[in-house]
């Protein structure tokens, strides 16, 4: 590629050097292929399915639609940055417990979207959950157990907060 570039991205709290990269590469490509962070998945590369969801400066985005070089200087969080391996977040655990995971390909994106949802709205209605997660396509589950997982966490968090 012409004009190889060097820049750094703040990913999951760590400055990561992106070396020798073509500037046109998407954040999804750079995360996966240059930084080895494989949790974000590519399934449509058009921002339709949400499988590549990450947060950039706190905002939930489809990383396939963001040019990596435009995210310089902004904190990026991927699923790898939510919790240590083997120590899942409450939402991650609820997805497993509720049966919200089948093939699991859409799951990292949905986990990111669910965290964003419950952080902005701790007590969402069913309709609000459906609306907020409608940018994430799941082909296996029919969404019923995903809805259940998110509702469980909302209840758990409220109960924990009330104690």
């Amino acid at each position: 590629m012409s004009d190889p570039q060097f820049y750094s991205l703040n990913v999951n709290g760590t400055e990561r050097q992106v070396a020798d990269a073509w500037l046109g590469e998407s954040l999804l490509y750079v995360l996966r292929e240059r930084l080895g962070l494989l949790a974000a998945k590519g399934a449509c590369e058009q921002g339709e399915c949400g499988s590549c969801s990450v947060t950039v400066d706190g905002e939930l985005v489809c990383s396939c639609l963001v040019m990596a070089a435009t995210a310089v200087g902004q904190p990026i969080v991927t699923v790898e940055g939510l919790a240590e391996p083997g120590v899942p977040t409450d939402i991650q655990q609820a997805y497993v417990d509720a049966g919200a995971v089948q093939c699991g390909f859409c799951t990292p994106g949905l986990i990111m979207a669910s965290h964003a949802l419950l952080e902005s709205n701790p007590d969402p209605s069913e309709l609000e959950i459906r609306e907020q997660l409608s940018g994430n396509i799941c082909r296996c589950t029919g969404y019923g157990r995903i809805l259940d997982a998110v509702q469980r966490v909302a209840v758990q968090r409220r109960q924990a907060g009330a104690l």
Partner: protein, 766 residues
Amino acid sequence: MTQVTATDSTATTSGRVADRLGDSALRPDGIAKVQGTFAFSGDLSADGVLWGATLRSPHPYARIRSIDITGAWKIDGVTTVITAADVPGKATYGLINSDQPVFASSYVRYVGEAVAAVAADHPETCRRALAAIVVDYEVLDPLTDAEEAIVATAKIHPDGNVFRHQRIIRGDQQLVGEVVVEGTYEMGMQDQAFLGLEAALAMPDPGGAGVELYVATQWLHEDQTQIAACLDLPIDKVRLTLGGVGGAFGAREDISLQVHTCLLALHAGRPVKMAYSRAESFLGHVHRHPAKIWMRHHADRDGTLRRVEARFVLDGGAYASTSPAVLINAITHAQGPYKCENATVEGYAVRTNNLPCGAMRGFGVVQACFAHEGQMDRLAEACGLDPVEIRLKNAMETGDRLITGQPILNVAPVAECITRTAALPLPDEPVGGHDGDPLRLPGGSGLTADRGHIRRGIGWGVSIKNLMYSEGFDDYSTARCRLADGTVALKFATAEVGQGFTTLAPQIARSVLGVAAVVCEPIDTTVGSAGSTSASRQTWMSGGAVLGACNAVGDQLRAHQAEVWGVDVDQVVLEHGWLSATVRGEVRSVSVPDVSQGQMFEATFEHHHAPTEDLDENGQGNCHTAFAFVAHRAVVDVDVELGLVKVVQIATAQDVGRALNPLSVLGQIEGGVAQGVGLAVMEEIIQIDGIVRNASFTDYLLPTMLDMPEVVADLVEIPDPMSPLGAKGVGEPPCISSTPAVLAAIRDATGLDLRRVPVRPGDICL
């Protein structure tokens, strides 16, 4: 009665290591999947890996005059460029007819047919290399009409334009019913649209003596056989390991990138990974057959079904894939789950210059059910019955025969599925919901619907689905159980595609051997075939294999302990993880983990189902293995002015035999219903003159969480004596009769005589 609803919260938290059959065991790969550490095939890489990419035909039908690859070779970073001339072995592949070229060399027969492939250092280099390959095409008029394919004198392939023609003739061919209804039904082409795109990593052996392939597939051993033939390598030199599979639904049963990836790696002498884009995926795998089905039903005045006449035309696209088998599934299920003694059925699966079609969840029965359920509603109307009455009156029972003459030997609770579905509560929400949020109206976030134009409708669909493979095919499955030091290791080649076999297999081992510690070894070709993860067959077949292997290990344990205790083996009982016997008047017990300390017990078991037969020229014969049944009731709201549909609720009672993992069963039901709803109101690959117009998730619409209705599910649990575990496969039925139920509900709401899915707004409002 087990009732599980969409708001069920009965599953408890994780950490349960002792889940047995009947428990809602949690997925062993669940934590890895939610934390993003589970390796899907597209996540795999290797030192020195190259990217591979495929050049595809832009034309539905053209003769290739020449292919000039010199331009691709001139691009820096390109290491390999291959065409048909570089295929060392068999030039074609295919599950049944082997008619699809690895690379087209003389003709291209559909948009997207592979012509060449490249390997390079970066996906962008690959893209530029593909653009630099010059193919000189003589563009020909495509054959895109399935009916025309039957009669056309010009053949678009040397094997002809008809993949298979079969008729079914049974009983009185002259019978005319007191009531006769007929109709023609059409179904568009549905895509499986799994989320995890096709991806594979091939690692060549030194000197090109063999290759190792990591791939997301449904059937490792079938891939292995087809790949080895094309590569001209001995079978054992092509070793496959299952890469993490991001859904399948039939689309991974055929070869897509397997041969190409291996060829590139062998030519490059380096690891190669291929990963399709979404647009390429739409072209690169087979789809659900578009169908045109005419049916005429004859009945007595009271609604008793007497004779079915039908004609099926399935568009198989350019290459055969599984079209011959899909056709047989379709026509042999023409009567639906209803008693019928007389039939006259004809079916064609034909070749056109459209996208190739093959397996998708439901496999021909989706098409048949859509038509017969439309007919049952017509019949009900003509006889003055309601949709439930007509179905109950004709409901099939154990011992009844298919129109092929095959008796149904399985548990057949058709009436129970219907009555229990009917007993499920209708939605309590009025149009638009209690809160009046316009998001709940048809059209959702478009906010265009007018509450005053909305009509609610209710519709029914009931289906029968064959399980396992048919027509004499012995789709056996193999599993190995090894017990050592208190841990059971299970080995099988059963593709885990998300359905949950790696959850179920340990449940079987725990139930038989009573050992909490059970692991599943890597899924690869170092053990015998498991057959395909399709046809709702793995719980029955691979479940049967794991059961057989575990039982054999149990027998070894009993024999071992009998010798230790000096008693007859028949006196040793294995129960709940304990071996016990009365030894010289004293009851002795020892746990399985204790017995297996420092010892290894191992058994491999092949499960075969009862043999099946070919159909004769009149379509008679016991061609299928087993059957499952389900009923669906749909509730929809329709804005009749705008043609917008909102599916409000799907209620279903499904014949599952025995729910070995109720949470997994519910997941299959809800997921299958989603695909059935998608087919009813949104999903269709649009081809115009053979050109695909919507190969993206922007234009091919899939149900989102907002589109998906509440699912109220009831499991009809009557263990089937024919099934090794009493369980029936549950994957396909949910998406079979949910589609006609939704269409019937739309007909009910609108009064329109709709006979095609997916229903488009214009079908309703124009």
